[in-house]
Amino acid sequence: MLLVLLLASALAIVRARNLFAVVVLSGIYSFIMATQLTVLDAVDVAMTEASVGAGISTVLLLGTLYLTGSEEAAPGHRPVLPLLVAIATAGMLIYGTLGIPVFGDPSGPIHQHVAPRYLQEAVEATGIPNVVTAVLASYRGYDTLGETTVIFTAGIGVILLLGMGRRARYGAQGQGGGMQEYLVLRVIAKLLIPFALLFALYVQFHGDFGPGGGFQAGVILAAGVIFYTIIFGLANAQRLVPPRLVEILVALGVAIYALVGDIGLLLGGNYLDYFVLDRDPVHGQHRGVFWVEAGVCITVAGVMLAIFFAFAGRRRRPDAKS
């Protein structure tokens, strides 16, 4: 049922010409997708999809719309060839899925090799009840280091291309430049922003026991600061979180992650070996996962903020009006 709704919103996104509508519909798509993922029992993924797709992506797409104008240009030709290619690819993929075992079939290969070992051993070996976090941060910690580096690279790319809006033009005299005169929103912001920041910390540390972890916590943290920027203006936000600090944060997270690996090397184990980090292996796992998740959170929050500041600080070019 939810898949039908997904299909409907995806079709609407393709057909809509007004890009504001597309942005709202993309947010709706992300919400429905996250619900679908929850139904499939993948809660960590659902939380990440909800926070990134429905919150941050909407805000960043809006920032792009400001710079590019909001009507989609009419296509110059009928896209018959791309349509045929897309249909052919979809056909091949669907044909491929016919050979996949039924969803949840216990004798399928995905449940046979590494997965039972992870599921059975994870809790005693690492001491972390949430298997997803254990796999992400410990069994597959090297991959997660790669992912964090990818996010870091994306952040660097945006900073290099767009700059970070150090020129805060309006509101430097304390006018704020945001929606400060809207009393209702200001009060709500004062209530919500501390809650969002606290909740980000909760998600970060609770990730060992329930859904959550570094990535989601970083996104919620960034969302809190972005909310502050929206209500109180870019100048105030940059006084609070200066661009220099954001740059440092972007790099700091990856550095922490890599350092944990190095410390493992120095203490006599392999790279990213958590067993040697403390007096007994399980405590070592706890320490390793804690620092690694902290690194992920810091980098993700920094990159999201960097991208947002880069977009928000741009002045619309006179020739970019739609």
Partner: protein, 109 residues
């Protein structure tokens, strides 16, 4: 006693679901943006309140109950703010409510 709590919980859940449908139908059938906002607020207050109350009565532990209460408070604070901002933005963009053609001023516009 627990039977009573159970029954009450179910009743609230079903009622909340019904009010959500009512609000959704309202959003479809109302003629104007501002009237649709009224219908949407039904979902946010009665629908959400009743459903969360029903779940609260079924909660297995007090932490779960506290989280449910937190969600309710969050929704209670944020949906009026969002619709307020929406109405302000709509008026700023020139969207006007459809009024009777009788020409008399509405009491508060």
């Amino acid at each position: 006693m627990s039977i009573l709590l159970d029954a009450l919980g179910w009743a609230f859940l079903v009622a909340g679901g019904a009010f959500c449908i009512v609000g959704a139908v309202g959003m479809l059938r109302m003629p104007d943006l501002f009237t649709r906002m009224h219908a949407a607020s039904v979902i946010d207050t009665l629908g959400a309140g009743l459903i969360l109350l029903g779940l609260l009565l079924q909660a297995p532990s007090w932490q779960v109950g506290a989280k449910l209460a937190l969600i309710m408070v969050l929704l209670l604070f944020t949906s009026p703010a969002a619709t307020h901002a929406l109405a302000k933005a709509a008026v700023a963009r020139g969207v006007r409510p459809e009024l009777e053609e009788s020409g008399e001023q509405p009491s508060k516009s």
